[in-house]
């Protein structure tokens, strides 16, 4: 219980020592014949195979109910696939007995359409929360919060309540929180779904900058106009199946 220094600094070494299969692939994400069927017999994903390379920016698009969110939830272990193999950041998450989900989630940042921020806290406290739960000291927390707020352009809003921010600013806080632990992978589930056009552009600018620094980004959206504006890879889903892949 608590924070073992090894846990905080290198989840891969920790997981390997615990017997979890860890391999160092060039692919950040690898899905092999993944299907997800719910107990009500609804098939959310059907035989999906795809790879996303480290450092790549990939849009996952499709209409509502196509399986975009389910696919993302499988990647951060909020769902388990019914069949198939999933490797994320070298960690075989579908391996039998894999339980250290919290270790996996420390290797990624996750951004949601509804931001999932703590409404009774300030901007700084929301970001600090991500550092506190991963065992950083108060000194480190203060330093990293300040750095990340500078990166997303919200340094002046550190003491402000989350409720006083616009939707775009809140999403920037959510992105800051997702990135404050420097994860190599960012999963974004319709992050611009609640934003207007200018705010959408702001958010994509931040993500583009991240991508240029080497972060792998998986961005789900049903907004076809958005994906046409940017030169990134697009993975199409329809009714739980992958229908085409264009780079």
């Amino acid at each position: 219980m608590g924070f073992h220094p090894r846990e905080r600094l290198n989840p891969f070494i920790f997981l390997k020592k615990k017997g979890v299969h860890v391999s160092f692939y060039f692919n950040m994400i690898q899905l092999t014949h993944v299907s997800k069927t719910y107990p009500s017999q609804i098939s959310a994903l059907s035989d999906v195979t795809l790879e996303i390379s480290a450092g790549e920016f990939a849009f996952i698009t499709g209409p509502s109910g196509s399986g975009k969110t389910t696919l993302l939830r499988i990647l951060y272990c909020a769902e388990r696939p019914t069949t198939g193999e999933v490797v994320v950041n070298g960690i075989h998450i579908t391996q039998k007995g894999f339980r250290r989900i919290y270790q996996l989630r420390r290797t990624m940042g996750i951004v949601f359409q509804d931001f999932k921020l703590l409404r009774d806290r300030t901007v700084g406290e929301n970001i600090a929360f991500a550092l506190e739960v991963t065992g950083h000291s108060p000194k480190e927390v203060r330093k990293k919060v300040s750095e990340i707020l500078n990166r997303v352009g919200l340094q002046a809003r550190e003491e402000d309540s989350i409720l006083s921010l616009s939707a775009g600013e809140q999403q920037r806080v959510a992105i800051a929180r997702a990135l404050v632990n420097n994860p190599p992978l960012l999963l974004a589930d319709e992050p611009t779904g609640n934003l207007d056009d200018p705010m959408t552009v702001e958010v994509i600018q931040i993500l583009t900058e991240l991508h240029h620094r080497g972060t792998t980004i998986v961005f789900t959206t049903h907004d076809t106009d958005l994906i046409l504006r940017y030169p990134y890879r697009v993975i199409h889903l329809r009714s739980g199946r992958r229908v085409e892949n264009s780079a």
Binding site: M1, G2, F3, L118, S137
Partner: protein, 306 residues
């Protein structure tokens, strides 16, 4: 580790502050429950003390038949002194008995005018060794005394000692049956309060899962909450019981409502509060119960979602 403990304590207090009314209600209910349990403990403790103190004073009085010659007294004294468990024997003649009665009656001793000392029987007051001041040993000595033809009647306060022992046993059984019900009640109430806390913190808990907080990081503050509820509730119960014991019982009830004869009866028998080791056990017990309630709630409602 220190940072983890600080974070845990801060979150536990934050949780309690965020659900102040349910937490205060839980603490009050734990307090009342432990007050009832501790009161029974205190009464049982003092009853046991009384019993031990009276056991110290237990004497067997063997009354002699009328007409026993004085020459036989010496022989009887020697015989009784040789019984196993007898520490000392004192012969009380009729005259001694009359003088004792006059002393007890005080200024009402004129009630004895006209009564001949010879009417009172002579007796032997037999004091027992410490290890023999129990019902079985006393019965053994009495059996031997009954075999002496000069002995008429034997008294040792057997009825009230046995009744008192039965009362103490019944009291202890009631204490533990009640304790069992109180135990279940405390676990139930902390379980429910924690369920409310977890419910009100659902969003924060979900975010902690997403951010990669370990299960212990999420659960431990809730365990601490249960421990704090148990500690504060039981601590308040002990303090209130202490107040009742000293302020009310000792200074008001005992001095205002106890008759002089009862005071004499209680003379030398102190009415004590629970000893420190019992207080610590009661408080630890309250904390453990609070912990179990919160543990059960967190197991039920904080299952680490895939």
């Amino acid at each position: 580790m220190l940072f983890f403990l600080r974070f845990v304590m801060r979150r536990a207090f934050q949780n309690m502050k965020g659900n102040l009314l349910p937490n205060l209600t839980t603490i009050a209910i734990i307090g009342i429950s432990m007050l009832i349990f501790s009161s029974f403990s205190l009464i049982a403790f003092n009853l046991t003390s009384f019993l031990k103190a009276w056991e110290e004073k237990i004497e067997i009085i063997a009354y002699m038949k009328k007409g026993v010659a004085l020459s036989e007294v010496e022989g009887l004294l020697k015989k009784i002194r040789r019984f196993e468990g007898v520490e000392a024997v004192n012969y009380v003649s009729s005259y001694d008995a009359m003088a004792f009665m006059e002393m007890k009656l005080g200024h009402q001793k004129n009630l004895l005018d006209g009564i001949q000392p010879g009417i009172l029987p002579s007796s032997f007051e037999i004091r027992l060794m410490r290890d023999f001041r129990n019902t079985n040993s006393i019965k053994g000595i009495i059996t031997q005394l009954r075999q002496l033809p000069q002995i008429d009647e034997i008294q040792y306060g057997q009825e009230w000692v046995e009744t008192f022992l039965t009362l103490v046993h019944l009291f202890r059984i009631t204490q533990w049956v009640l304790g069992g019900l109180i135990l279940m009640g405390i676990i139930f109430i902390t379980f429910n309060t924690l369920q409310l806390t977890i419910s009100s913190r659902k969003e924060e808990i979900e975010i902690m899962h997403i951010l990669g907080a370990s299960p212990s990081f999420i659960q431990v503050p809730f365990y601490v909450e249960g421990l704090i509820q148990g500690l504060v509730g039981t601590g308040l119960a002990i303090l209130f019981l202490f107040y009742l014991h000293y302020e009310v019982l000792l200074y008001k009830v005992l001095f205002l409502y106890i008759t002089p004869s009862m005071k004499e009866w209680l003379a030398g028998v102190p009415i004590l509060f629970l000893p420190p080791e019992k207080i610590v056990l009661v408080i630890l017990g309250g904390m453990v119960l609070g912990f179990f309630g919160s543990f059960a709630a967190s197991m039920r409602f904080l299952k680490y979602r895939v």
